[in-house]
Structures are given as C-alpha cells and as structure tokens.
Symmetry: C2
Subunit: 365 residues, 2 copies
C-alpha cells in the first residue's frame, strides 16, 4: 500500500477543532489498514504570526511543497486585524495557492435534502441543487502587479490593484471546467464582465475557443457576472458547472454556498497541474466556511465541511473515489439520523458537539 504524505494546517479560530475530527478519521483509516497516511503539522495565519511573526514559515512552506496534499482549516480573526498587510493571516493562504500553483478551485454547492429548510430560499428553489463552481485561483486581481498604496500629495493616497489574465491561464481553467462537466450534466456557464473589462473580453474569447476546439460535446453558455449572480439567486438549478475568475469566483461561490443553507457542510479542493513525470498534482483542501472566531474553542463548530474536504482529497489526490463515496454516505447517514451541530439545528433534531459529530461519522464508516 502506498504511503501518502499529508500536511495538516489547522490555522485559526475553529480550524484546530474541525481539523481534530479529520485527524481522528486519518488515525482510524491507518489503524484499520484501509490506507496509509503520514501526517505532518504546521502553522498558518494568525497562529503562525503569533509564533513566528509571519503568515506561514519557510519550514512549513517546504513541508507543503513536499506533501502529497495539504489539508487546510481556516485563517483570520479580529485578533490580527491590525497586523501589517504583508503578514496578515490571509497572506499565508494566498502564498500557498500561488507557490503550489493551485490554479483550479473546485467549490461544489450542494443542498443536503435534510437541510433544505435551513436555506433562506424557498425549498423548491434549492432542493436537489448540485452546482460545481470552478474558480481560477492563482491569477486576476489577487496577484496582479502593481498592487500599491502611494501618497500622491495634498493628503491624498492612491490605491491600485491590477487584474491580469493571460490566454494560457484561461485555457487551463476552462479545461478543468469542461472535464468536470463531462462527468456531470455536461453544461458549463462562463461568467465575466466583458461589457466593462478587457479581461472579460479575453476570458470570453478563450473559453469560446477552447470549447470549439476540444469540447463541442459540452454545452457552453456565457453570462455577465452581475446577471449570473442574479440568476444564481433566482433559479440556481439552471446551472451545472460555473467557471469564472478569481474575484468573481470568490463572491459567486460564497453566494452559491449560502443558497444551499449548508455553509458549514461545503468543502473545496484547490488543484495544480499534473506533473508530467510523477503524474501527481499539488493540491490543497479546505472548507468553504471561515475561522468563525465567535464560536472558536467552544466545541460548537460543524466539522462536516472539513471532513468532506478530506473526502475530496481522497477523490482528487489519492484516487480513492470509493472511500470518498463512503465518507459522503456516512455524513448523509448521520444527518438523516437527526444529529446536528448548532449551525444546522432545527426542531426535532439531536444536538451534537464538534467531537460528537466527528465520532458519529466515524462510527457510520
């Protein structure tokens, strides 16, 4: 059996608590001889700042590069609101994405039937919802230069951010979207603002070309990002795969997640390119929810998004799709049994702490 090297980066807030439940699952898989994981641990975000005055240390970056997959909790919190911009908690996550070249962020927005009523949307609008948002993750306004604040005299400052996209960046994220669509409902919706942004013009043009050259069997549709956002709220079930840039993807995937009513349940995968020699690709897995400092340390956090992110690692990095299916089924079974953490509780359900939820999922497995 192959040994897989994992780097666990719990981060801040509820990160360590939810990561604890993934650790429990890994220990069990190892003990049962189902898989062989070697885990290392590191600091990122505010916790790295507190220890080393950086958002991630060089040592932990080296471990991330050496690992077969990084499992990431969450970063940030009011405690670090006034640390210098370069070492703010989010910088650690952004550096991981950039240095590991994790250009493809997969964010499934799935409405768990047991939780459809938790959505602010009407049940009929979200029941059965299953969208995959494919967000470009290493380009756009997140990393473009110049990115500066300068003094321009007269008490005035000028802030500049730069959105940059090259053809190859759009091509490769397009391919990820089309490949995923082939295994789903065969439809891709590309979103940009071509009526205002030159990067939107190029995005639209390249998506159209990739589609015409390589994926004519998939349906490609274009929507402006603002009307796309509206359609997401109005009738989300019209979508299968949505592909969009880094900043629009940030907004739209969060909105899609909220629609499902299952924010504490949603995982994400960030993938790099496949290495021609090793056939491996760099990857990082993190829940869509943040560090939730208000409930941290109280055993209230929902570990499902974190466990489900580990499930995505099994599927996308270690080719253990069957085991991933079992993890998903265990989560669904526990939900069906009525067990709920505080964020998803409703009348007639049984309250569970972070640990109780983690243990119940393990027991199902």
């Amino acid at each position: 059996m192959a040994t897989h090297k994992l780097l666990l980066l719990p981060g801040d807030g509820i990160g360590p608590e939810v990561m604890g439940e993934v650790q429990r699952l890994i220990d069990w898989l190892n003990a049962q001889g189902i898989a062989k994981f070697e885990t290392e641990h590191g600091l990122v975000g505010g916790s790295a700042y507190d220890a080393h005055k950086v958002s991630i240390s060089e040592g932990d970056m080296a471990k991330a590069i050496a690992a077969d997959a990084v499992i990431f909790g969450a970063v940030g919190g009011p405690k670090w609101d006034s640390v210098p911009y370069e070492v703010r908690p989010e910088a650690g996550l952004l550096r991981l994405r950039k240095d590991l070249e994790l250009f493809a962020n997969l964010r499934p927005a799935v409405c768990y039937p047991a939780l459809a009523d938790a959505s602010s949307l009407k049940r009929e609008a979200v029941e059965g919802l299953d969208i995959m948002i494919v967000r470009e993750l290493t380009g756009g306004v997140y990393f473009g230069e110049p990115k500066t604040i300068t003094d321009i005299g007269n008490g005035q400052k000028r802030a500049i951010d730069t959105q940059v996209y090259d053809t190859y960046e759009i091509e490769r994220i397009g391919r990820v979207a089309f490949e995923l669509a082939r295994k789903r409902r065969n439809k891709v919706t590309s979103m940009e603002k071509r009526n205002v942004m030159k990067s939107g013009v190029l995005w639209n043009e390249v998506m159209t070309q990739v589609h015409a050259r390589e994926y004519q069997d998939v349906t490609l549709e274009h929507q402006l990002a603002d009307s796309g956002g509206m359609n997401l709220v109005k009738s989300p079930k019209q979508f299968d795969v949505i592909v969009t840039d880094n900043l629009f993807g940030d907004m739209l995937s969060d909105i899609a997640a909220m629609l499902t009513g299952s924010l504490g349940m949603l995982p994400s995968a960030s993938l790099g390119k496949v290495d021609a020699k090793t056939k491996k690709r760099r990857s990082l897995f993190e829940p869509v929810h943040g560090s939730a400092p208000d409930i941290a340390g109280k055993g209230l956090a929902n570990p499902i998004a974190m466990i489900s992110s580990f499930g995505m690692a099994l599927r996308y990095s270690f080719d253990m799709g069957d085991l991933a299916d079992k993890v998903d089924a265990a989560i669904a079974a526990v939900l069906a049994s009525g067990l709920r953490t505080a964020d998803i509780k409703s009348d007639g359900t049984t309250p569970a702490s972070t640990t109780q939820m983690g243990e119940a999922i393990l027991k199902e497995l």
Copy 2:
C-alpha cells in the same frame, strides 16, 4: 414656475416602450400645470450605433451636459454583440456616467408587499425589506488605466484591467452614504476586500476616517464583500445603507434587487456633485433592469422601474419630494388593485400591458 430641462434617452430593447410611459406622465404634469418640463430626445447604445456608428453622439452628449437631468432607459442586446469594443452599447452609458461625473449611484432595494411571494427567498426573509445600496460609479476597475489586451507572443494574449481609487473619491461617496443613512435607519455597512486588495485597504481606512470626523452619530460597520454578499442572501434585513465600489456595487446591487422579487420595479439615481454656484447637480435616472431584448416591442415590459426612476428625479433633482411621494403611492395603489405586467403576474391578478400599466398609474395620480 421654474422650467426643468430633461434629456430622454430611451436606448434599446424595451427602453423606448417604458420611456413612453414616462413621456405620458411628463405630458400630463405639464398639461395640468403641476410642473414645467422641457424634453429633448436622443439616442444611446445600439440605437445610436445603428444611426451614427457610435454609442452616443457628440450632439447628444452636449444635450446631456446642458440638461437638468437625464432620463435613461436601457442599452444592449445580442444584435450588437460583435460591434467593436469602443462603440459597444454599454460604452454610451459609461461615457455619460464619466463625463457627467455621476459618482454616486443610489439603488434602493425595496420589497413591495404585494410582490413578496415573487422572490425566490422565503417571505419572512424579504417582507418589508428596504435597503439602499450606494455604489461608487466613476472610479475603480470600470475606468482605471491601463485597460488593454496585448499580444505577448507564442499565440498568447494578456488582458489587463486596473482598479484605482483615490482618497477623495472614497470620501465623497462615503458622505453620500452617511447623509442618506441619517434620513433612514442610521446605519452604514461598507463592503470591500481589504484582505486581498489594496483598494480595499484604502477604502476601509477612508470610510473609518470620514465616519470618525463627521458622522459619529451614524453606525458604521465593515464587511468583506464576499461575506457581505452571503449576508445579503441569508438575512438582508440586517442592512440599511450599503456603500461599496463600482464593481462590487454592480454585483451586490443586482443581487439585492433580485432578492426583492421586484426587479422590474426598481429605480436608480446617479448623482454628481453639487455645483457651488448654481446649487444644481448633474444627474441621470435609470431602471435597474436591462434592455430585455427577448420581450422588446411586444408591450409586455413593466414600466414601473422607469416611472419610479423618474420619481427619483423629482425627488433628488427637482426638490419635488411631495410629487415623488404621490408617484410612489400611485404605483403602490395600482399594484394593490391587482394589476400586473407579465413579469410579476400571479394567480388572481389582472394582466396588463406596458401601456395599460402606465395609464393606470396616471389615473391614480
């Protein structure tokens, strides 16, 4: 009685139809001696391109500058999807905003009680919703330079857009938001992505300063634009005034509009600065909905957003708040009577064409 000069720019798609109902209202106000409007007419968007191969002619720009207010319909449609970028329909609207220096875009998102069920959100989430989104309209990534697509060799192109904000631009839009909040529920939520964008850092800093210096009586809150978008979907009633940049404002105001279930009902006002001498300010009023080419020319369009935008002109440009209130009341009364255009019809209501709706509102007045 003062004479007010209006420039009507119906634009494309359903623009001319809905503008027709504003014209009817203006004619009636003039005939009754309630007000004195002088109207001029011009072309913008695709209709200007068809006539002159530009998105707005210099002559019409001159009329816009000379007018006391511009009343704008909608632009765009598939017919002009492949015209050159510089003369695409939207360019006309963007030039009007920029050259008239209409830096403040006010987009009320109000849920009409009679239409709460048209929302994809649950009634309790949106009933009574009344948000004002204040969007910066002449800065940011819409107008920043460089804004280019260049050939970088090897079959690769590079697209660049630039987001630029100076201190004064953030200050003046902040003041608009705080002033509006004072007349409402006294709360402003500022949204940006300071964890990723330098313009977000400056935006946050300047809002905080303006608040501390001039508006301590108003509550100021900051949200990241992605979680702000989530909160808008989850519990929109937590907001009073939202102030944000041009691109986030584009996305967030559309999403807020869709929440209300009343997209065809929502107006917007774009305001410039007050001239020190004349005490007047440039202004443009347009519905939030677009040109809806699919239903254009069929008498199906809902004229309420357009009429209500004219109501905002009465309020914000001509100091006729009482008359504006009467227009709003007439719209509410017609809705309460059960009359509905196709976009808002439901069981037990009476269908109306664009013209029938416009006439009914006039009759109420």
